[in-house]
């Protein structure tokens, strides 16, 4: 393994800044590795060597001219395939968008380019981000570098497997109900969902507009903080974008301290339904914090019980409307049935052929939830549950600084294990969904390997809306406790992908 590819993004940025390596060298190292190993993990749907190397060269010459555009200047990055890019196809993991090259860059991609980060390629995902395993990708499932028979989480399994398999030092994902945090937990990496509105959604192919948020996927908390600093900020193209700056996450991480910290453990997300090894890792985290003098209290969030139900009404409802535009007229697939079909039949045939079963399921479910006569009982009630969850959280945060939960109920499950059981798949998001419903920031940090299967587990940190900095501080403190124990981040314990080369 080239030494470069296991370095953190922050370390790479330092080497590039001091001109010990060039951005081109760093970028090529990841391409060399990705081109030979991507077939194992299917992290990337598209690798963009030419365009990335041009960007790397520009980063190098800018640096030579004294222009360093960000703290991550020159460090290559992977981008989830639901963010539009003018120089690479954007499919959102769907056949209906196969080969579509967008006419515009998403705001996040614009910010990444402006910050001097070459884009390695577009990462695999469940179709339109509907899923928790990437098994619903129309282009085949990504695989977990810790065990290639297992899922890397979803929907952002392409990004999580790329980062944990060292096919990219950094990635951006999107999180609607846990699509950044769940994959991070099961691949031993770090994933953060910022406060709703902190990062622009312009150019993010919408799943559920009121839940979607773009965020970093990395191997360290500091890398995540540095990346959030690059991608966050007000965008007039997104009317739900926060006008106020949340400050620098990287700066906040530097001043983190245990002193005076008070954390809450959510009663509803700490006992039942968690794999024993996952629970044990979580208890270990709490014990470590307590040993540092952190006060830990249990908080009650009774409405969390309804969060999955509310989520699986709001998401399909918004998605059914967001996905209506895939109709064969202006972009994407067109399938014409035999004979002399009308446009109505062309649209229906295109959507039948272009959408996978899970997407169709959710569109039809969402159509039902919004239908006249059912709206109040379903969509309306679900929106009220959101209010109750916000009230629970408001109360909880009046008692504690942050909340901690296990990120996921289990470690990575086997590919194929849950693919035919939608309801079981939906429950993977039980701990991550409340943050999306309430708009608050949430982040997953590795907290060990489950004893029964030796697979990574993650702890989730939840903070009040706009308190992303606080979340990053606590995440960095927890990370530091484990690095002290292991001598390195958890990712160093991952088996090398090379072993599986063949």
């Amino acid at each position: 393994m080239s030494e470069l590819i296991t370095k953190s993004a922050c370390e790479l940025a330092g080497l590039i800044e001091s001109k010990e390596i060039s951005s081109v060298e760093a970028t090529e190292a990841f391409f060399d590795r990705s081109e030979s190993l991507n077939h194992l993990t299917l992290s990337y749907l598209h690798l963009n060597r030419e365009s990335a190397l041009a960007a790397a060269q520009a980063a190098d010459s800018d640096l030579a001219a004294g222009k360093r555009h960000s703290a991550l200047h020159g460090v290559p990055i992977a981008v989830k395939d639901n963010l539009t890019t003018t120089d690479a196809p954007t499919t959102a993991g769907s056949k209906i968008l196969e080969g579509w090259v967008p006419q515009y860059d998403s705001t996040v991609v614009k910010r990444i380019r402006a910050a001097g980060l070459p884009i390695l390629g577009k990462t695999n995902m469940d179709e339109f981000a509907m899923g928790s395993s990437t098994e619903y990708s129309a282009y085949g499932p990504s695989r977990n570098p810790w065990d290639l028979d297992r899922i890397p989480g979803g929907s952002g399994g392409g990004s999580s497997s790329a980062v944990s398999g060292h096919l990219a030092p950094l990635a951006v994902g999107s999180d609607t109900g846990g699509s950044i945090r769940f994959p991070a937990a099961v691949t031993g990496s770090v994933g953060a969902k910022p406060t709703y509105g902190a990062v622009s959604r312009y150019g993010l192919i919408a799943l559920a507009s009121s839940l979607d948020q773009v965020g970093p996927v990395t191997n360290t908390v500091l890398d995540a903080a540095l990346l959030q600093d690059v991608i966050a900020g007000y965008d007039p193209h997104d009317s739900t974008s926060l006008p106020d700056s949340l400050g620098s996450m990287a700066e906040a991480v530097k001043t983190a301290q245990f002193k005076g910290l008070k954390v809450g453990v959510v009663k509803q997300l700490s006992s039942d339904g968690f794999q024993a090894g996952v629970k044990k890792c979580f208890d270990d985290t709490i014990a470590k914090l307590t040993a540092e003098g952190v006060e830990v209290v249990e908080v009650d969030c009774p409405s969390f019980e309804y969060s999955v139900a509310a989520y699986y009404l709001i998401l399909p409802a918004e998605a059914s409307s967001n996905l209506a535009r895939f109709d064969s007229v202006r972009f994407g697939l067109r399938v014409a049935p035999e004979g002399n079909p009308t446009i109505e039949r062309v649209m229906a045939a295109t959507r039948e052929a272009g959408f996978g079963p899970e997407v169709k399921r959710r569109i039809i479910l969402g159509t039902y939830a919004l239908s006249s006569g059912y709206y109040d009982a379903y969509y309306g009630s679900a929106q009220k549950v959101r209010t109750l969850i916000q009230q629970d959280l408001e109360k909880a945060f009046s008692q504690v600084d942050v909340l901690l939960t296990p990120t996921a109920p289990t470690t990575a499950f086997k590919i194929g294990e849950k693919v035919n059981d939608p309801l079981a798949m939906y429950l993977n998001d039980i701990a991550t969904i409340p943050a999306n419903l309430a708009g608050i920031p949430g982040m997953s940090v590795p907290n060990g390997l489950a004893e029964e299967d030796g697979l990574p587990s993650g702890v989730q940190i939840l903070a009040p809306a706009r308190e992303d900095a606080r979340m990053y501080q606590v995440a960095s403190l927890i990370e530091a406790l484990y690095v002290a124990q292991w001598g390195a981040p958890l990712i160093a314990q991952a088996p090398g992908l090379e072993a599986n080369r063949g």
Binding site: V101, P102, Q103, Y196, G197, S210, L211, P236, S239, T240, Y306, A309, A310, Y312, L313, A324, D327, V329, R330, F331, G332, L333, R334, N340, T342, I343, E344, R345, V346, M347, A348, A349, R351, E352, F355, K360, R361, I364, L365, T367, Y368, S371, A377, Y378, S381, A382, Q383, K384, V385, R386, T387, L388, Q390, P422, L423, L437, A438, G439, I440, A465
Partner: protein, 98 residues
Amino acid sequence: MSEITPDLVRHLASLSRILVTDDEVEKLAGELGVIVDSVATVNKAVSGDVVPTSHPIPMSNVFREDEVAPSLTQEQALSGAADSAEGRFKVAAILDED
């Protein structure tokens, strides 16, 4: 027992412009039935006056000034289209109306 009948699935699929076979209708009716029974619990959660939340972070009056920004060229606009003619998107004939 769920109210998701095959006929309802057919109706919903038609509203969503998705062609479904009879086999798919049966399968979807079963799957959606299970899901709907499960998510219907939201009804139990809310009683009395709870204001619905449609935006997680409350905001209002976000406006853009009335200023013209550059548009795409016609070529760019049509670049992703399956078919076009005379600078327009081309689609099959429309069944209803008129």
